[in-house]
Subunit: 208 residues, 2 copies
Amino acid sequence: VPAERRTQAQRRQATRQALMEAALLRIQAGESFDTLSLRSVARDAGVVPTAFYRHFATLEELGLALVDDSFRSLRAMLRGARESGGPDDAVVASVENLTAHVQHNRDYWSFIVRSQGTTQLRHAIRTEIRLVASELATDLARFPVLREWTTDDLQMVSALIVNSMISTVEELLEVAPGDERREAEIAAVAKKQLRLVVLGMPAWRSGS
Amino acid sequence: VPAERRTQAQRRQATRQALMEAALLRIQAGESFDTLSLRSVARDAGVVPTAFYRHFATLEELGLALVDDSFRSLRAMLRGARESGGPDDAVVASVENLTAHVQHNRDYWSFIVRSQGTTQLRHAIRTEIRLVASELATDLARFPVLREWTTDDLQMVSALIVNSMISTVEELLEVAPGDERREAEIAAVAKKQLRLVVLGMPAWRSGS
DNA sequence: TGTACATCAGTGAACGCGCGTTCACTGATGTAC
DNA sequence: TGTACATCAGTGAACGCGCGTTCACTGATGTAC
């Protein structure tokens, strides 16, 4: 067996990899990073719990190594995606690159996006958010500029707005409760982002 | 003490509330929903662990009750926010409503946005995402349409694009791996969203 | 209003379990001569 | 090439702990007469 031929350093690296992959797999399967246990990761990697400590001091440390790996892969993809002509071609190219990358790197993306919560609860929350977006779409239909838009396009722009708002909230929550200066900055950026979206609307040919 | 005067139903409701508030508090303090323990929630609510079962069968069930409450509050806010004139006034009003609501309901928003992961890990991931946005901003500066934009505005639009992309990824990850039809739909919406943003750019007066 | 009984929110002891971490260890790989 | 010793990745037993869940219980509140 070639395994016996590998150097100590190579075997060490292989175990480290196995631990990281075991963690990714569990997360990809729907578990959250927070509920991973050192013992389960070691078990999946085919190694005794104490061996874990030869590679990482804590699970958190393994998590940070995964952040490094994930974004290294992501950056490589983005670098490649930036060889297009005008901004409009770039849009098509970048979305297609992104979806392809997600297809082939579900493990990394699962980790980035859901180092997070329970499947059931997340699902409930996403459903509510979609509902909010739908209600917004209904409301938007009343504006003159949007009167001739298709339902799909109204949904599309509502989703864009709601997702942008949620990102804004995420940023607001990182601000220390009293820091009104920073809160105002974030709100200012959020307004600009929405205004930019609104500016695009008259130029949009819905149904195209 | 008026506590002795309350009916059984009122006391029951109070305990239920205390359990839900204990969970919210822990999440607001940075804990993830997934790592909450029934015993810690009961302890914080000033009640014995077994009393929990008089109100919820599982922690998950308590979580779903929190989703209900959070979005009830959120919807009330949005209803109020929709009494403005044109879409542009609405932008300003809605952002200001949102920031005020987040300020006064940090508990609910913390729950909605971070039923999720470790503080440290989330921070590492957000930092990486910001970096990606910055790189995008640098790249965008090369396009003729954007040549006269301020750095802040380039950052603003980059953040909008990157956040939108991440929402797209979240949706892609909910699709069953083989379902190419659904993946194509999501990609199509993502492209439209980006194109809409791009359409707004020529009309944008940067620095305003 | 008074009594007898039913309901039921909250109690407290007990259980078995998987966890993170410690420790002394083993035996293969690597190094010096 | 051969030997003697050092290094070090992985082992396996043991620990104390907080957990979810069970069970029989208590005693205050509510209800029927």
